[in-house]
């Protein structure tokens, strides 16, 4: 019987060293868990880097994986992000083959998703959309009707809301 898997978004602050992503990722790899997305980005402190990972694990091992990451020498802090309290975003680039007569309907969809067309030729266009992973999933569903040649997603980057100053604006 397959165990129930839960999606976790984990934010890890680490020393800015070569190999640091491998070290952190290897904790999951060792147990055979796939990482859905991983992003590594700089922080305000040049010595510290932020790794944001999204992975599916069984609920009961999630805490232990986090504890194993937390004890690594390179790791300064780890937090499992609470989905309700977290702002998370992902960038999508999609290349679509589209003849001039299809452009308008694509353009309409892109507008609804507040995306933009960043490259246009007589036969194709490239669309950029930013948003939550669910929003990008929805956009990709609509793109199924068209001739998608290629697409690329950046992986999630996330930050927890500051509750005192948050006015619900996104």
């Amino acid at each position: 019987m397959a165990k129930e898997m839960k999606k976790k978004i984990v934010s890890v602050l680490v020393d800015n060293l070569p190999n640091v992503m491998t070290r952190v990722a290897s904790v999951l790899g060792r147990r055979g868990f796939n990482i859905d997305t991983i992003t590594v980005s700089s922080t305000g402190n040049p010595d510290i880097t932020r790794i944001t990972m999204v992975f599916n694990v069984e609920e009961e091992v999630a805490d232990q994986i986090v504890a194993q990451i937390a004890k690594m020498e390179v790791v300064k802090s780890v937090s499992v992000l609470n989905r309700e309290k977290t702002l998370y975003r992902e960038l999508l680039l999609v290349k679509v083959n589209a003849m001039p007569d299809q452009r308008d309907s694509i353009k309409n969809i892109v507008e609804v998703y507040r995306g933009s067309i960043i490259n246009l030729t007589t036969t194709s266009l490239v669309i950029e959309v930013t948003g939550s992973p669910e929003k990008l999933d929805g956009f990709m569903d609509l793109m199924d009707e068209f001739d998608v040649v290629d697409f690329c997603r950046s992986g999630v980057t996330a930050v927890e809301r500051n509750l005192q100053t948050d006015h619900g604006l996104e």
Binding site: N19, T22, S26, D63, K71
Partner: protein, 553 residues
Amino acid sequence: MKLTGAQIVAEVLLDHGVDTVFGYPGGAALNIYDELYKYSDRIRHVMTAHEQGASHAADGYARATGKTGVVFSTSGPGATNLVTGIATAYMDSIPMVAITSNVDNSLIGRDAFQEIYIAGITIPITKMNYFVNDVDDLEMTLRNAFRIANSGRKGPVLVDITKDVTAAKTEFTNKPPLPLDPKPSPTKEELAEAVRLINNAEKPVAYIGGGCISSNACEAVNELISRADIPAVHTLMASGIVSYDNELNLGLVGMHGTVAANRAIDQADLIIALGARFSDRVALNPKKWGRRARILQIDIDASEINKNVHIDKCCVGDVKEILERMLEYVDKAQHYEWHERVCGWRTKERVRRTLNHGMDPKEILEAISTMCDDDTIYVTDVGQHQMWAAQYLKFRKPKKFLTSGGLGTMGFGYGAAIGAQMGKPDCRVVHITGDGSLHMNMNEACTAVSENLPVITVIFNNSVLGMVYQWQTIFYGGRYSSTVPHRKTDYVKVAEGFGAHGYRAENIEQLKAAMADAMKQDGPSWIECVIEPEERVLPMIPGGKTVEDIIVE
């Protein structure tokens, strides 16, 4: 003061009180070895036959002395040969610093001769590792290596240094060693809850693990169990924390543990885990292990909590510090009924040996135990002899039983025994091994001869790979696949060929005579004890089973 990278290596070792290192030279390590030559009045370098032996020697040195084991190797194969030794230390939380050399920075990544990416290889088996390609980073990196190896849950750290860095010069600041990381410490409330559990328990058991040795908690553990009348079981790693003749000591727990120890865990209402990690060789069935008990876990590694077994209450921190804080609040208690029951199991315990010919492993170990004093350090390899040694040797003190518990490394013993003897020249060191394990790294006999170390190697020769053979007998219908090698090794001749003393014993009297003679020698000895292939390690609880399924005959 400007020093070369190689000089900095030597100076940092001296700063950390390192006077003995193990290793093997090579091209990329030439600068470091040139410096070790110049520092040889202050740092003794023990050259082994093989880097694996050096890594186990550094490990054995650390286990016997409590100090950091240091091992050197060259690049490429020198570095990869350390891997098993580093992994062994990692699994048993032994503080070790491995210093490998690599090719010149200009050749890195170009598949140069003897280039290997050892920092990549050792990520999963070190607490931390470093690749140093700038001499300005070297001093702090080495200091950090010692800090990390000894902070919190101890373990190995690897520092890989390019050859040009060992030659380059930089300013050496000569700082004192870095302070160890602060230890986590439970709150007063957490301690109070732990104490409440102990004081309210009617059927408590202490489950003692290797963390009690790392934390030097021997005294505190004994104080706890005698104060509150708590029967104790121990893991392979914790032999000697509670003296063998203490009536509260129920012995080894787990797969080959005593009936009393396993039954006590099964019947207890509180299990106090002290620096122990509920491994699959102890909690054979994690769902049913300690099923009637609440479990209180005291451990320095937060990631051990709830890893294998559900924990009811935990205190994360140093076992010794926590016990010392708790002790005055622990009620003096007498659990008459419980004590009577479990200690009754202990005294009634009989494992029946079904064979009536050949040397009895139990008698061999009892004879050795009788002839050696309480300070004797026993080092084992892995297999049946290891389990018999854990079951039948008589320990009164900690750090006297050195064994590869976590990784289960056959071939660990000889190197580790050499390291232990170097670290504890005044203690007798007895290396207990099997014919299978000895064949893996018997080459280290040459090291024991070169260093003139009086290590006594006792070989349990059953002519088969006994532990695997035992499993094939019980679980695989007696299909002895690759466990009967038909070797014709003459151990006496081989020992003598290395320049050691060789003895062969076919009965206990011959063993005693050989031991007596070996104990008079300055250099190493081998004593072959001929035993039957059918000897089994009992009791045995098969993997995934419980004490109800224990096999005793």
